[in-house]
């Protein structure tokens, strides 16, 4: 059985034309112009890369960031960020700067230990640091400057001593003066908002 091949100029040109037209058509289809919403989303994504290079999660007796730690760990893992958990013990002016403050130091150990556990669970490298300072705000801002932090994460809650005013004075001041982005998480009734209240009240009535 003989085999025949016929290469002609016309055939070659048509082959090129077919490949070119199909390729160009599909390329055009797959590259539609971005909509206004997509441009906003793209800008936000670019910002995210800038925001999450280095993270600091700050704790103090006035800053309760425990519930934000898991979020910070997941964010750090996803974006491969550096993560520092910082506990600030504010020393009153009535005491020397290096005064022993057993209860606060113990609270710092607990908070940073929990932070380490969360980070380990999420396979994230974390550094921890405890600082004694006259002003919590200034300590957090100084560390942020030293670490060239991109984002400071702070937590607060609605009830308790800040009833009616979720953000304490310290958090307000840090947010106002920080040179980097600040993420503040206000815990909603210690997480109970996730439960359908109507269902709960119905079941209670029943």
């Amino acid at each position: 059985m003989s085999s025949q091949v016929h290469v002609t100029l016309a055939g070659a040109l048509i082959a090129l034309l077919v490949a070119g037209l199909v390729g160009a058509t599909l390329w055009w289809m797959l590259h539609p112009p971005e909509s206004y919403v997509q441009r906003i989303a793209a800008a936000a994504e670019r910002n995210l890369e800038r925001i999450v290079g280095s993270l600091i999660v700050a704790f103090s007796p006035e800053i309760d960031s425990a519930h934000m730690m898991a979020l910070a760990a997941k964010l750090a893992r996803g974006e491969r960020s550096e993560l520092l958990a910082l506990y600030v013990i504010e020393v009153p002016y009535t005491l020397p700067p290096d005064a022993e403050m057993t209860l606060e130091e113990r609270a710092a150990l607990d908070a940073l230990g929990a932070a380490e556990t969360i980070a380990n669970k999420n396979n994230v490298v974390i550094r921890t640091e405890t600082i004694k300072a006259r002003s919590t705000k200034q300590a957090v801002l100084d560390v942020a400057k030293r670490e060239k932090a991109d984002l400071i994460i702070l937590g607060s809650y609605r009830e308790g001593k800040y009833s009616g005013a979720p953000l304490g004075r310290v958090i307000d001041e840090i947010a106002a003066d920080a040179k980097c982005d600040v993420l503040i998480g206000v815990e909603g009734k210690h997480g109970t908002l996730l439960i359908d209240e109507s269902a709960q009240s119905n079941s209670q009535q029943a």
């Binding site: 085999s3 025949q4 016929h6 090129l16 289809m29 539609p32 112009p33 909509s35 206004y36």
Partner: protein, 542 residues
Amino acid sequence: MPADSKSSQPELRRSVTPWGSFSWGYSDVGADIFVGLGLVLAWAAGASNVAFLFAGVVYVCIGLAYTELAATYPVAGGGQYFVMRGLGDIFGFIAGWAVLLDFTIDVTLFAWTSVDYSSQLLPALVNSVHPWLHFGVVLGLVIGLCLLNVIGVRESTTFNGVVSALDVISETCILCFGFLFAFRPQLLIHTMQTHWPSPYELMLGTSLAIISFVGLESISQAAQETQRPASIIPRTSVSLILTILIFALAYSNLALGFQPWHPITDAAGHHLQFWQIFPNNPDNQGKAVALLAAQVPYYGAFAALYVPVLGAILLLISSNSGVFGSSRIAYAMSTSNLLPSIFQRVHRKFRTPMISIVFFSIIAVIELLFAAAPALFPAVSSLYTRFFHGENGLDFLADLYAFGAATSYSFVFLGLIGLRLTDPLSPRKFKIPLNVPMRFRGERVEFPIVAVIGFIGIFSILMFTLFTHPLGRIFGPSWLLLGLLFYLVYRRYRRLPILGSQPRNWRTAQTEILRRAGELELMDEYVANVKASDALRAGQGT
């Protein structure tokens, strides 16, 4: 109780990407050339490329019309919805009912040709050799697809996307290697000069060529799930139109000027041209692309192994799109009170429109029986020979497919013209070219010339189909008449306008459609257009 959380209806998630939208359409339209090529070569012979060109021009007009309509009204329902909105309920029903015929034929025709392509590797499945086995496998596929759709195993968009991508690459390779190594321009000219068909055969070939372009409906049906439909659908539709047109024109020209890698001879030992293996040979007609691919020098050795498999898969996907497409259309028609609400009923366990799926699958099986009867029973064969010019099973299915497509497309063109006149306020991100500005009922409108050209083209193809297809001439109109009768009885029973339309607030509907589509800028534009129009009318009134 938080009212919003309880009362809000879940909306279809907009997850279909540009490639997803393209592959939805491609898995339907892309499979058509696998069926159409052999049939057209068999009848239109040396004018096959002309038949494809004529059908292609009409198809471009259809594609542009669908693109404009789907981008303007991104809702599930497709042609039936556009026609209902543009011309009224009864015309919407006729268009939808014709599409339903196409979808049921789609199930059978593509399952049939899927088996034909498989027979290239499994000779036992050749219809003329083992008709009962062929029939059994096709029947099994139809029932299998029906069951899969009933229990809710849906085809994956990713799978569709991968198969479509493989097929686009494969067909481009076949054509490129074919033109490069086996195309003889002189042979093409010689074939066109010496084997020009009679007018009857050319009309028949042209009416069959349109089936290579059926399925654009799928893109508009997926509009409700497509991301940014007003922006994406015009691109995916135009790309689909161009890709399919390039393939169809290239295949037909290649086939006519094709020098096979291995010489083909008839029983008497005479050399045959490639296209000459199709007339009077339904087995070959059902697997034309695989036969051509296998004859491409060098590449053919590889293509002979995978093209039948790829073709069979693509055809099966297309067949499946007929099963779920028919249930979707029936659902949409039912919500518009064009069909009884039973077609909306969802199975308690599987959450699928079981009644709709089973009903249209049964119709597909009935069509299969009509198609397979001549091969299965010699007595029926002689009956077909006597009354229907000896049409075979594939011809029967192709006849009805062409009839359904030509009918629904004719109405879509009329619907487009109607919507341009009655709804000029809806923003059209894509508008078909060549429009004549005019005033209609106090509004500035643009009359679409392309829609008129397209209507003339598709209507002439409908006439060709009725003139040249004895089976299509009888069964197609019978399907429409039966449907109309059913519609009239249903509307009377429900005390709805029989020939008129139900009153609907299209303005509110359009705002909601654009909001759900995420086309907020278009929604603002529409609301502004409506306000400006109302203010103008109020000013004229005072």
